[in-house]
């Protein structure tokens, strides 16, 4: 049964449509990530589920119950905010105890203590329980913030970019930890981020949002390999997918209605001579990242970015010929069209 369901929900702030006709259902134990740029409506979606915003239209269901009109305290959800998540006037312990001492679910202090120690152990903050919340490092703060959600066993955890204010190393650590905890406890999480790596690594399903609309919902593989349209394709992959006009690479498996070709780095093969069968490009710029090189290519007046092995001694001005493996094709409107099976592999 669906833990959380949004049914045709819309919400606008003044003239801005934050969320439009959004329907989404999250199964028990599922980790769903909403991915999108700032202002896509991801946070509003979380706030609608938490009850911090009321939808203009549509319904919110939690465990099959319509909670559209319920105040946040009546909904069984936990929220992890991007920042400002700990109460600065309380100790770590009291921060963790705060939800358990609420009037909505007051708990025996003995039980509170046991729960807090369990969670503190899980998150490696046992040593910090007596500290004031302000005396923690950024990573500890965010772990405690996640802990404050974990001490409860709500129907769903709502997380609003909980790792975005941390440095890259810590982010990678906590990402793994969070996924491990979610697996161990079998919790249901709706997680908002604009970081594609977080989305790809943690999600059971990814929902790509833009301008208040859920554009595509699917497993990370589906989203990456079979994006519905050029927008979804451009959200994932680093360096970003190259979108070039179809006439540039005519032939092969290209369907007749394709107007744009999406080339991820793995779709592009470079042959280090100008006399290959494919189109010829000129190396415009090489970025050395250590483990890999980003090669900026010019083909006619269009730019392409692809990866190259650092061992490959490419330099600006070199001419290479290109071959393409199973690129993505998009029609006039930007929707993906299937490749022409008969003419696969150019």
């Amino acid at each position: 049964m669906a833990e959380v369901a949004l049914v045709d929900v819309s919400k606008s702030f003044g003239a801005v449509d934050a969320v439009r006709n959004l329907s989404l259902s999250i199964a028990n134990g599922e980790f769903v990530v909403l991915l999108g740029p700032t202002g896509a409506g991801k946070t509003t979606t979380l706030r609608l589920i938490a009850g911090l915003e009321r939808p203009d239209r549509g319904n919110v269901l939690i465990q099959g119950r319509i909670v559209t009109e319920a105040v946040p305290a009546e909904r069984d959800v936990a929220f992890v905010f991007q920042q400002y998540s700990l109460y600065p006037h309380l100790t770590v312990y009291d921060n963790l105890a705060f939800p358990l001492r609420s009037p909505a679910r007051r708990m025996d202090e003995q039980l509170v203590r046991r729960r807090i120690h369990q969670v503190a152990e899980l998150l490696h903050v046992e040593q910090k329980l007596g500290n004031r919340a302000t005396a923690l490092s950024g990573g500890e703060m965010q772990r405690v913030a996640i802990g404050r959600a974990l001490v409860r066993e709500p129907a769903v955890y709502l997380m609003d970019e909980p790792l975005s204010s941390l440095d890259a190393k810590l982010r990678a650590e906590l990402r793994l930890e969070l996924k491990r905890i979610q697996r161990e406890l079998g919790t249901t999480i709706l997680y908002v981020t604009h970081d594609q790596i977080e989305a790809m690594t943690m999600a059971d399903r990814i929902g790509v949002m833009n301008e208040g609309v859920l554009i595509q919902l699917g497993t990370p593989r589906e989203i990456y390999e079979r994006p519905d349209n050029a927008y979804v394709a451009s959200r994932l992959g680093a360096p970003a997918i190259n979108l070039v006009p179809a006439e540039l690479l005519a032939g092969g498996a290209m369907p007749p209605n394709a107007r744009t070709v999406g080339l991820r780095t793995e779709h592009i093969r470079m042959i280090c001579s100008a006399d290959g069968p494919g189109p010829v490009a000129q190396v415009h710029w090489v970025e050395h990242l250590g483990d890999q090189n980003h090669v900026h290519l010019k083909i006619a007046s269009h730019s392409l970015v692809t990866l190259a092995d650092p061992a490959q001694q490419l330099k600006a001005g070199d001419r290479v010929s290109l071959a393409f493996d199973d690129p993505l094709y998009f029609d006039q409107a930007g929707n993906r069209v299937a490749a022409n099976e008969s003419g696969r592999q150019a």
């Binding site: 909904r75 400002y84 998540s85 600065p88 609420s102």
Partner: protein, 317 residues
Amino acid sequence: MNLSVTAHSVAEPTARSKRIASFVVVIYALVTILPLVWIFLTGFKTPPDSIAYPPKILFEPSVEGYVNLFTTRSRQTPEFLESLPPPQTWYERLVRSRNMVIGGPSKVVPRFANSMIIAFGSTFLAVCFGTIAAYAFSRFRVPLADDLLFFILSTRMMPPIAVAVPIYLMFRNLGLTDTKLGMILLYTAVNVSLAVWLLKGFMDEIPREYEEAAMVDGYSRLRAFFKVVLPQATTGIAATAIFCLIFAWNEYAFAVLLTSGEAQTMPPFIPFIIGEGGQDWPAVAAATTLFFIPILLFTILLRRHLLRGITFGAVRK
């Protein structure tokens, strides 16, 4: 994200500029503190010493001013004084030595009590209303919020004397003239605008995520307000309380107009402490010294909060 914006000058101040700065500060402090020292010393002078010219810097201290402040006395003939039993206390002896007898306690204690009740009462109410209103303006989409805030501010624009007559008439009709309740309401009304504006700034600085987190954690908005918002607003509340208290404590114009007996506060009382042949300056100085103490204590008590409060907007944690 940890935004830390600290304001510091580009160059470290040199020893010379530090010396100049401390010299200026010390001079300024001396100039401002001199009248207070003067008043304090006058409180311990005898009436003749207090009006001596040139002023006496060195004098024999006396508590006559304080005795006069707390008592009413009458001059008696030497024959009458002879007929009295010997003085029982040191202050009776002091008064007798001036050929007077103590008639009874003066009004200073009830007046002081009035000041305390009215000033602290109105400060408490103004800060309460101010906190609630500021929270509402800061967090909810109040219709016409800007106009309302301007209206609240505008209540402070007119000089009090301009509205004195209408307020006097209103008070008379409502039976509030010369009542503590009336004065508390009046000072609350005057202070609430200041409180709302000051506190709104502080409330705006408290991220709303705190109370939203509390609400999701199972608290009602009201409980979240008390549990999460108030503890973080203490700085602003302390600063606001001091400003309100200073106003209510020192207010003179309305107090003169609207109180005469029952509810009279210290400011209209002090100038009319009359001794023989005019103003009893040592008693006036003694009253002023006592008058100064509560505000001093209150400010010292809240000083830590106050200093943090003043820099609150400038320093981000």
